[in-house]
C-alpha cells in the first residue's frame, strides 16, 4: 500500500519535476557552475567580504519589514473585502492587484513623482513602501480566498458561548487561517528579497540588495564568482525560509470545514479593519492616480493624445511595433503562461497537500514542496543568462515557460492551504462508495479549490502580463511584450514617448484589473451554483 502510494506520488510529480529540472535547475546550475571554474575558494572568499554581509543584511531587513507591513495591512483588508458586504468590493479587489503587474520602471517613476521633495525620497522607508505597494495584493488574495470559504459556524458558536471577537479570532479563526497567512507571507518575502527595480529606483542607488548586486556583478562586471556566491546565498536562504515556513504552517489538524458564506454587512466593530483597508487602498491608488493623471496631460492641458499614439510606433519610430500589437502579444503569452502554471501548479499542489502516511512520504512531499518554491528566490539575471547557456533561446515557448515558472510558486501556495484543509476521510468515503481517483478529485477536491483555482489563474495571468526580469532576457525584437515596450519608450528622449509610456502603463493596469475582475465574477457565480 505504502509503496503504491509512493509510486503514485512520484508519478504525479514526475512531469512538473522534469519541467523544473530543464527550465530551472539546468540553467541556474550552469551559471553557478561558471563561477566555480576557478575552484570553490574564490567563491567562498566573496562570502567573507564586508560588502556581501552588508548587502545580505539590507535584503533581509527590508524584505522582512515589507512582509510584516503587507501582512498587517493585508489581513484586515482580506477580511473586509472577502467577508463583508461592502459596496464595490470586487472592483477594489481587482484594483489592488494592479501594482503587481506594473513594470517597476514605470511605478518607480509614478512613486518618485509623489515622494519628490519629501524626506521620503531616496530613503529606505520609500523602498519598504514600494515593496508593500507591489505585494500587499498577494496577502489580500491568498488570505482572502481561504477566509471566504471558512466555515463561520464554529466562530459563531464560540461567540454565542461568550467569547469576545478577539478570542474568537485567536482561538478559532487564526488557527484555520494560519497556513494561508504563512504561505502568503513567505511568497511576499521572496518577492521582496528578489526585487530589483524598487530598490534602485526608490533608493537612488544608496542601497544594494542581493538581487541588485547580482545584476551588477553579472551584467556589468562579469564577476561570475561573486555572482555565484550570492546566488548560493539566495538558494540557502530560500531553503532555510521554506523549512521555517513548513514548521509554522504545520498545524495539529489542518482539516477545515469549508462552505460558501454570505457576506455580512459591516458593523461598528469592523471599523479598525475598514480603516486598514482604506490605508492599503490609498497606498496602492495614489501612485496609480499619478500615473493616470500624467498619461492624460500634455503641455499643461488635459488630452487623450497619448492614448491615440498607442497605435503608432512612437516619436521618431521609437518602437518596432505599435503598443497595441505588444498588448496582443502580452495577452497571448499570458494565456499560455497561465495554463502552463495551472497545470504544473495543480499537480504539485495535489501531490504536496495529501496527508502522508509515513515519515519517508512526508519527507518526500515537503522536499517537493520546497523544490517548487525555488524559482521565486533566484535572481532573474541568473536564470536569464543560464537560459542562454543551456537552452535554444530562439524558441518562442521560452517566454511563457519562464513566466509560468515565476507564477508557479504563487499558484502552488494558493492551492495548497485549501487542499490540505480537505479532510482525507471525505476522499476515503468517496473511494469506498466506488468512486475512482478522478471522480473523487472532481467531487471532493474540485468544489473546494474551484475558487482558489480561479484566484491562482488570475494571479498567473497578472504575473505573466507584468513579468519583466526574465522576459527581458528572452523576448524577441519582433514580438515584444507590453512591459518591454514600456521600458523602451521610457528610456527614450522626447516628451511624447514619455507620455506614451505612461498611457501604455495605464492600459496594462486596466487590462489586468479587467482580467482579475472577470475572474472574480466567474468565481462568484460558480460558488452560487451549489
Amino acid at each position: 500500500m505504502t509503496t503504491r502510494r509512493l509510486l503514485t506520488l512520484v508519478g504525479l510529480a514526475l512531469g512538473p519535476v522534469l519541467v523544473l529540472a530543464v527550465f530551472f535547475v539546468l540553467p541556474v546550475s550552469a551559471m553557478i557552475g561558471r563561477g566555480f571554474d576557478e575552484g570553490p575558494r574564490a567563491v567562498l572568499e566573496v562570502l567573507g567580504r564586508p560588502r556581501t554581509r552588508r548587502v545580505v543584511w539590507f535584503t533581509v531587513w527590508s524584505a522582512g519589514a515589507a512582509t510584516l507591513v503587507s501582512v498587517a495591512l493585508g489581513m484586515p483588508a482580506a477580511h473586509v473585502l472577502h467577508r463583508l458586504d461592502v459596496p464595490g468590493r470586487s472592483v477594489v479587489r481587482s484594483v489592488l492587484v494592479v501594482p503587481f503587474v506594473l513594470p517597476t520602471v514605470v511605478v518607480g517613476v509614478a512613486f518618485r513623482l509623489l515622494v519628490r521633495g519629501t524626506p521620503l525620497d531616496g530613503s529606505a522607508l520609500a523602498i519598504v513602501a514600494g515593496l508593500v505597494f507591489f505585494n500587499v495584493a498577494v496577502v489580500i488574495r491568498v488570505v482572502g480566498a481561504a477566509w471566504e470559504s471558512l466555515d463561520a459556524r464554529p466562530g459563531e458558536a464560540a461567540a454565542a458561548l461568550g467569547a469576545s471577537p478577539a478570542q474568537v479570532f485567536r482561538t478559532v479563526t487564526w488557527p484555520a487561517l494560519r497556513p494561508a497567512v504563512v504561505s502568503a507571507a513567505s511568497v511576499v518575502f521572496l518577492f521582496c528579497a528578489t526585487s530589483y527595480g524598487v530598490v534602485l529606483t526608490l533608493g537612488g542607488l544608496r542601497y544594494s540588495s542581493v538581487e541588485t548586486e547580482i545584476y551588477l556583478l553579472t551584467t556589468q562586471l562579469l564577476d561570475l564568482q561573486a555572482a555565484a556566491a550570492l546566488s548560493i546565498v539566495q538558494l540557502l536562504a530560500i531553503t532555510a525560509l521554506i523549512v521555517v515556513v513548513g514548521r509554522l504552517r504545520r498545524s495539529p489538524d489542518p482539516t477545515t470545514a469549508r462552505r460558501p458564506n454570505r457576506a455580512r454587512r459591516p458593523g461598528r466593530g469592523d471599523l479598525p479593519q475598514v480603516v486598514a483597508t482604506v490605508v492599503a487602498l490609498a497606498l496602492v491608488v495614489t501612485p496609480l492616480l499619478t500615473l493616470l493623471a500624467g498619461s492624460l496631460r500634455e503641455d499643461g492641458t488635459w488630452t487623450l493624445a497619448n492614448y491615440r499614439r498607442l497605435r503608432t510606433v512612437g516619436d521618431g519610430n521609437a518602437l518596432l511595433v505599435p503598443v497595441t500589437d505588444a498588448l496582443v502579444t502580452s495577452l497571448r503569452t499570458a494565456v499560455d503562461a497561465t495554463w502552463m502554471s495551472l497545470l504544473l501548479g495543480g499537480l504539485i499542489a495535489v501531490v504536496v497537500s495529501r496527508r502522508s502516511l509515513s515519515r519517508a512520504e512526508r519527507g518526500l512531499r515537503s522536499t517537493l514542496d520546497a523544490f517548487f518554491m525555488l524559482p521565486l528566490g533566484v535572481s532573474a539575471v541568473t536564470l536569464g543568462f543560464g537560459f542562454l547557456l543551456t537552452l535554444d533561446t530562439s524558441s518562442r515557448l521560452l517566454v511563457p515557460i519562464a513566466q509560468a515558472l515565476v507564477a508557479l510558486p504563487l499558484v502552488v501556495r494558493t492551492l495548497v492551504p485549501v487542499l490540505s484543509g480537505v479532510d482525507d476521510r471525505q476522499r476515503q468515503a468517496a473511494a469506498s462508495l466506488g468512486a475512482g481517483p478522478l471522480r473523487t478529485c472532481a467531487t471532493v477536491d474540485l468544489p473546494v479549490v474551484r475558487r482558489p483555482l480561479l484566484v491562482a489563474a488570475g494571479f498567473a495571468f497578472a504575473v505573466s502580463l507584468g513579468e519583466f526580469g526574465a522576459t527581458s532576457f528572452l523576448v524577441r525584437d519582433e514580438h515584444p511584450t507590453l512591459p518591454v515596450v514600456i521600458f523602451q519608450l521610457i528610456g527614450r528622449p522626447g516628451s511624447e514617448n514619455f507620455g506614451m509610456a505612461l498611457a501604455a502603463s495605464v492600459v496594462l493596469a486596466a487590462a489586468t484589473a479587467l482580467v482579475v475582475l472577470v475572474v472574480d465574477r466567474l468565481g462568484v457565480r460558480s460558488l452560487g451554483a451549489f
Binding site: V109, T201, L205, S208, T212, L446, S472, F473
Partner: protein, 349 residues
C-alpha cells in the same frame, strides 16, 4: 452541472493552448540563409530597412535584442563557444576591449565610409569591431530655468561642484546605466586616477542626486523632462537639445560641450558564426547610406559617415563637442571593476 467546470476548464485550455505560438515562426529555416543579429534593447531598425537588407543580401534577418551594452557583451563572452548569433551590434567603446580580449569576434575589415576611421577602437589592430555610430554623453542644462533665476549657466565639471549650483544636478548612476558609466569615465579622464574620487566627494557634498537610470534622471528629476522635475542640470546626450524644441525655432535646453565623453557603438562578426558571410553583409549594410541616415531618428546617435545629412532639428540643435573626453579602452577594461566598486562605495556611504 457538477462536471461543467471541468468541461469548461478543459475546453478553455484546449482553445487557448499555444496562443503565443500562433503566427509565423521565423526561428526555423536553413542557417545558411538567415543571419542572426545579437544586439542591445535600444536597437531600432525599421521594418523597411530590414526588408531592404534582406532584398539586397538575400539573407533573412533575425534580430535578438536584450539587455544593455554591458549585458550584451557579457552574454557574448559567456556564450562564445556556441554563439547565439552571427553578427553583433551595440558593443561600445567602454566594453569593446573586453569583447576583443575574450575572443568573441572574428576579424572583418569593412570598407569604412568617409570619416569613420577616426572612430575605430584604439588597440583593435585586427579589425574585430567596425564603428557604426557615435554620440556624446554631456551635462545638459535647462536654459529657461537659469534665465528665470538670474544665475549664470554652469560651463565645466568644476562648476557643478560650486555652491551656486547646490542641489541642482542629477545624474544616472555609473553601476546601473551606461551614460552614468560614461560620466564616471569623464571625471576620470578630467581629474585623473588620483583626483576623481575627490571630485565626486565634492559633487556629492554639493547635493548631486544619483538615480538608477537615464529616464529616472531626465524624465523625473530634470526640470525639462516629462515628469516636470525640479533639477535644471542633468546628465544626458549631446543630441538631447534636439528633442526639447519649443516650436518657435528654438530649444529649451543645451548641452555643455566641455563636459562630454565620446561613446562609439560597434558592429562585428561573431567568432564561430554559422553564417559569417551574412554577418559581413550586415556589417556592410550598417555602414551604407540608408542605415547611417536613419540612425539619428532611430537610435538618437550620429552616423560615423560624415557625408550623411542630419535631420533638420539635429543640424540646428544637436551640437557635437570638438574635444570630448576619452579613456583608453584597455585601461577601462583593466580598471572597470575597481572604479565601479570605489564609486559605489562613495555613493552609498
Amino acid at each position: 452541472m457538477r462536471y461543467a467546470p471541468i468541461v469548461l476548464g478543459v475546453a478553455a485550455a484546449l482553445l487557448t493552448t499555444s496562443c503565443s505560438l500562433v503566427g509565423d515562426d521565423d526561428s526555423g529555416g536553413d542557417p545558411a540563409e538567415r543571419v542572426v543579429l545579437v544586439t542591445h534593447e535600444s536597437f531600432v531598425m525599421s521594418k523597411d530597412l530590414q526588408k531592404q537588407f534582406e532584398d539586397e543580401s538575400g539573407f533573412d534577418l533575425v534580430v535578438r535584442a536584450a539587455g544593455d551594452a554591458g549585458a550584451l557583451t557579457n552574454k557574448l563572452v559567456l556564450t562564445k563557444d556556441d554563439p547565439t548569433g552571427d553578427a553583433v551590434f551595440g558593443i561600445d567603446n567602454t566594453f569593446g576591449s573586453r569583447a576583443i580580449d575574450e575572443g568573441v569576434l572574428a576579424p572583418y575589415a569593412a570598407d569604412l565610409p568617409e570619416g569613420a576611421e577616426a572612430y575605430a577602437l584604439e588597440g583593435d589592430d585586427d579589425h574585430d569591431l567596425t564603428p557604426v555610430d557615435t554620440g556624446n554623453v554631456c551635462v545638459n542644462v535647462d536654459d529657461g530655468w537659469f534665465a528665470d533665476h538670474g544665475i549664470a549657466e554652469p560651463q565645466t565639471l568644476d562648476d557643478l561642484a560650486e555652491p551656486a549650483y547646490k542641489d541642482l544636478f542629477v545624474t544616472p548612476g555609473a553601476t546601473t546605466s551606461s551614460p552614468g558609466l560614461a560620466f564616471l569615465l569623464t571625471t576620470i579622464a578630467a581629474y585623473g586616477e588620483d583626483g576623481w574620487r575627490d571630485y565626486w566627494t565634492r559633487l556629492l557634498a554639493n547635493g548631486a542626486e544619483i538615480t538608477q537610470g537615464w529616464s529616472d534622471a531626465y524624465e523625473v528629476a530634470f526640470s525639462q523632462g516629462g515628469g516636470g522635475g525640479d533639477r535644471p542640470i542633468v546628465l544626458s546626450y549631446d543630441s538631447s537639445p534636439a528633442f526639447t524644441t519649443d516650436g518657435e525655432g528654438g530649444t529649451t535646453t543645451s548641452a555643455l560641450l566641455d563636459t562630454c565623453f565620446r561613446q562609439v557603438e560597434y558592429a562585428g562578426v561573431l567568432a564561430g558564426a554559422d553564417n559569417p558571410k551574412g554577418a559581413e553583409a550586415l556589417v556592410d549594410f550598417m555602414l551604407g547610406h540608408d542605415f547611417q541616415a536613419a540612425l539619428p531618428d532611430a537610435m538618437y546617435v550620429f552616423p560615423v559617415d560624415g557625408s550623411v545629412a542630419l535631420p533638420a532639428d539635429w543640424a540646428t540643435f544637436a551640437k557635437q563637442p570638438e574635444h570630448p573626453y576619452t579613456v583608453d579602452p584597455a585601461e577601462i577594461t583593466a580598471n572597470r571593476e575597481a572604479w565601479l566598486q570605489q564609486w559605489s562605495d562613495l555613493v552609498s556611504r
